[in-house]
Symmetry: C2
Subunit: 681 residues, 2 copies
């Protein structure tokens, strides 16, 4: 199935074409006929209006059905009422049209009947091997091919950023906004209901699209999490992918829940999955739009911008910018060399600050910016210069803009013109000539931080796993669980006994020390609270007594787990939770009191290898606790990572399992002892 | 000293007035003469140019010295080179001018000589009882009095927000920006170097300024932290104060430092102090400007806006807005009543979403917004409506703006028009008629969150404390410290012994159990690491042995602290650190492993009462640990708060103390036991 003809078709049929300016069918016709580019492809592109109601549309003769068109059709656009879409789509199939956009709404977004209709058109597309975009979408725009197959009133400026959107509103808003910011797009796809083609199909198409150097996605749902991750992690090694997802809020309540399920709400898994696959995730529209501006003017997107110089004519805003950079974990202020400082000293007035930020002073004309940039654009270890201009009495807004434009091909320049009308000339000058203009320092710093945080890196290969839809479940029997885990070299500490007579031998086997005894019963899930855990048992006599007590006080005892008590170690949690979208999410975190007080966990989507497991553990906030700590050597990260990897394998090979808790796991320099575990099927 | 004449003088002398349009002296003259208001005061205001070089300036006759002016002068503005400012200021004093603005730069911002000159003019002002603003400032603007005593080219729109700025650049940028946003100001003061009058003086003045309903401050330094807090906490009960402070970044490194000093870097104390006094602190210029927009259109500023409805014509952005609200701790989405929903159902098309967010659909004309707002503006428990408009094919931008304006006096309406040129008409329409227009949902949500987080509340009275400048210091002797602390009812657990013979009696006194022994020595500050702490001592025999070991292995032992070991309890830290600006900062936090892994602390500036101490403890992230936890009852917050209050009193009465650590304090249901303490003088 080729998507190429969505963007560069030689012939297009518009079904539902009309001369009525208030209708979508008119907007499409009119947009398709507006061709600016002189390329042969574009000039020869044929547009065929199809309708029953009119004789000609925009001067073109009309056909009653696609079947009547004497030409081959590369792309059909359907904008008729939902009820007759199946009929029209069948016509397209019979005409052997392989790419179809259904604009019409009235499908699954309207309820049960619409959903029926939608699955119907999905079936028809499948039958005729049609690549179907929509329904309920706004269409497609391609800059290079000068194609506006959408009802956006005005085609966006050409550029190198592609945008895939599940929200029509955000798409039109972004396009409208892009004009005033001088931001251009390579391709825009409004995904609609995704009856067939999904965000992942177009993402994959854009992977090798040479016109696209960065990809934006607005997502509300994902159809196939594992495939999305697989494709995404491939694409992000080639070009940055920036994702904004709606529906990330959590009403989640951590109260008293220390099990894996509560520690990995779905939105957290989504963000973890995107990051793991190397994408940049953004949480606000403003953040998203700002990242677009930064990407649109960044010359090389392969290595992220991290080392920044701030150049300003006003102290206040530059101090704030420096603060923001300082607080970002991924950015840094360049420390200027003495040579650079001396050179600056020579061209700037004696009162100018020549550290970083460099303050050329409130009375600076454009020439001071120019002299400084001549020096700074050559500075070592510098990725970008953030240039702040505030409106002072002598400020030359437009001239300063012209200076910045001179340097834009030498180094990444991010102009921040703070103010209003006074700055307007300069702002327009920049945008006209291909530099974005930012309003406030945060707009740049936050965007650079987003991009740098997720610099592409080597990623573990991802396999697909399906059939993991979650249902309500029950706790796995202890013995089954113990056996299942041990198949994957995950061993629960201690011995499980069902006969009191075995106590003596077992204590001997475990060796001298004190012991813990745990009654295993489905009716005592919270062992501590229900009295099913006894600690500090010193000898056989005490053990026998506890055994008796268990059998008399705990309902439905199946047996007793006896463990040697660990004197030392730091508690961690390792867990797995099935996520409806991504499959197995593996959770690692500090255990015990830390889990309950603050949610200090990190998430990865399975499967992944040891290297990723090691990285994952380093992500927790309290990592210090597991490293050299109070005279204790670091815990054995190797052994922990082996458990994590084994657990991730287990989860994939047992799709019926919904949740696994290994909690607590006591970690020391040379051991990782699993004290307790739970598995939910 | 009255500040009134800075804003509404009847007569003004401009020293350094000139006809040279490139000079500041011209800008002032020209701005002062531009009077739009017809009020009698303004019309009769006299302007006297003073210069040696010209015969008339802007048609006004010139005086050679203020002493030559035959009229009384309420305000003098000095814009001559720094070196002759002392002479001119002396003239002003002799002329009995009580309010002077020194615009000239070349003072302490330039180094040692300038600082000399600055202290000289401070002395002169003092001698003649002059209220002096500046030097190195941009002047003053007052809307009501139609006074532009600044070199801002254009007077801001009149409004109800006052702005005090230590940054000239930010001030001019804010004014320039305010025109395009339709935001007005009551008074603007550029504070300059603050040779005499400070931010606090003007804050105090604005407290009772009936034209000002909200105050903005840009701060870089504070001269007198305690007085600032005292005034600020009074003002914030009357009107919101929003503060942006530059220089908040911290290169702070938590590595291995668990003592109070490391837990309270100066910037954290600043923020804590502002919040404690009821102010809103903002960290980015964009955040600051957005708060200004929100404040400028909020009708009542006394109670914060918290309960929000989102109304939209596009799903994507509204979901993101709802997410942002959801994640804010201080805001909430209104749950619409069934009546409201039914009413909406009747006026909106069947496919419209009538939950909150309410989606009037992409094809909505202005009338759907109007019908919805008629219902929603009457909705219960609602503080504000965030109205999102995205550019769709049929969208009526300007008409929708007119609809919003109809409701602006009924309820707080925050329009968010996402897009560019298409939205421009609507945006202009709103701003023209007194509504701000926001670009993105976050701009509103973040601002409301800032404002709601610090809703005014009852605050403890604040006293002044001075003379606490910090120097390098040394550790207080253990015995002195124990005595000092006990004067304030802060008792270190256990007995301090210097004679081995006392061991036996002491163990009896402490009662049965196991004991801890700690060798007290100035040469063993890190007790655990230097072997000066021994735990789990069972009896007298062992205690004697440890005693001997201490005396042979630890250098300079002064005595031994013997404590009964606490079986239970949760570790907390209580500490105090002197801050150069605010005096005593009191720190509370979870102790032990929590301090080291994550910095879970909260800060208040002393002194404060028990109520504030109780609130303070609730601010830590891991508060759960101290409440009902794993079957343990809550710790005794009463006792902890008593220690906190006592410590804050001690700190105030002993300005020579720089740092106090009570660490750890073991807290249980009915005790708060101080296990160890340190005091730095």
């Amino acid at each position: 199935m080729s998507l190429e003809n969505f963007f560069n078709p030689k012939s297009i049929a518009v079904i539902g074409a009309t001369s009525d300016k208030n209708k979508v069918g008119y907007a499409f016709m009119s947009n398709l006929l507006q061709k600016n580019s002189g390329s042969e492809n574009v000039a020869n592109r044929k547009i065929y209006p199809v309708t029953l109601n009119e004789e000609s549309v925009l001067g073109l003769p009309v056909f009653n059905s696609v079947l009547d068109i004497p030409d081959e059709i590369d792309l059909a656009i359907i904008a008729v009422r939902a009820q007759i879409v199946p009929k029209i789509l069948t016509d397209c199939g019979q005409k052997n049209i392989k790419n179809v956009i259904v604009i019409s709404s009235g499908f699954k977004e309207t309820g049960f009947e619409g959903a029926e209709l939608e699955s119907q058109i999905g079936e028809i597309a499948k039958k005729y091997n049609i690549a179907l975009l929509g329904p309920n979408c706004l269409g497609v725009i391609s800059a290079k091919d000068d194609l506006n197959a959408s009802f956006a009133g005005r085609k966006p400026l050409p550029g190198k950023i592609a945008f895939l959107s599940q929200s029509g509103a955000l798409g039109t808003a972004l396009v409208d906004w892009s004009f005033q910011e001088g931001v251009g797009f390579s391709k825009i796809v409004s995904l609609g209901n995704e009856a067939q083609l999904t965000e992942t199909d177009f993402l994959e198409y854009l992977e090798n699209d040479s016109d696209t150097s960065a990809i934006l996605m607005y997502l509300e749902t994902l159809n196939d999490g594992p495939r999305f991750m697989e494709v995404l992690s491939r694409v992000t090694t080639k070009k940055p992918v920036v994702i904004i997802k709606a529906g990330m809020g959590t009403h989640g309540n951590l109260a008293a829940l220390s099990h894996t399920g509560a520690l990995a709400p779905q939105s957290d898994v989504f963000i973890a999955a995107c990051k793991q696959a190397g994408a940049v995730t953004v949480s606000s529209v403003r953040g998203f739009f700002n990242v677009v501006k930064v990407l649109s003017q960044t010359t090389q997107t392969a290595t992220p911008i991290q080392r920044v110089i701030v150049l300003t004519n006003g102290g206040g805003p530059s101090v704030i910018a420096a603060d923001l950079i300082d607080r970002s974990k991924s950015l840094s202020l360049v420390t200027l060399s003495n040579d650079t400082k001396e050179a600056l000293r020579e061209v700037l007035p004696p009162m100018a600050a020549i550290g970083n930020p460099i303050d050329v002073m409130g009375d600076a004309l454009a020439d001071r910016y120019e002299k400084s940039l001549q020096i700074l654009s050559e500075a070592e270890d510098t990725d970008a210069i953030l240039v702040i201009l505030t409106p002072q009495m002598m400020t030359e807004t437009k001239k300063t803009a012209d200076v910045l434009l001179k340097f834009k091909d030498k180094i990444n320049i991010f102009p921040v013109f703070i103010g209003g009308e006074f700055m307007e000339d300069g702002r327009k000058e920049l945008i006209k000539s291909g530099l974005s203009c930012f309003d406030f320092p945060r707009d740049v710093v936050e965007s650079l931080d987003y991009l740098a945080k997720n610099a592409p890196k080597n990623k573990s290969p991802l396999h697909r796993s399906k059939d993991f839809k979650r249902q309500d479940g029950e706790m796995m029997d202890f013995v089954c669980m113990k056996n299942l885990l041990s198949e994957y070299d995950i061993f629960i500490s201690g011995k499980f006994l069902t006969k009191k007579e075995d106590l003596e031998n077992t204590l001997q086997e475990l060796g001298e020390g004190s012991y813990a005894m745990k009654a295993i019963s489905k009716q005592a899930v919270h062992k501590t609270e229900s009295g099913a855990v006894r600690l500090n048992i010193a000898n056989l006599e005490e053990a026998n007594r506890v055994w008796e007590e268990f059998w008399t006080t705990i309902p439905a005892v199946e047996g007793v787990l006896i463990q040697k008590m660990e004197k030392k170690g730091r508690e961690v949690i390792i867990g797995m939770k099935k996520d409806n979208t991504f499959g197995s999410a593996i959770i690692f975190g500090l255990g015990g009191i830390f889990t309950e007080a603050i949610k200090d966990t990190t998430i990865r989507v399975a499967p992944f290898g040891k290297e990723e497991a090691l990285k994952m553990m380093k992500d927790i906030k309290g990592i210090k606790i597991l490293q050299d700590f109070r005279g204790e050597p670091p815990v054995n990260f190797e052994m922990l990572s082996q458990i994590i990897v084994n657990l991730s394998r287990l989860a994939l090979e047992h799709p019926e399992i919904k949740e696994i808790d290994l909690n607590p796991v006591m970690a020391t320099e040379n051991s990782a002892t699993i004290i307790d575990a739970r598995v939910m099927i």
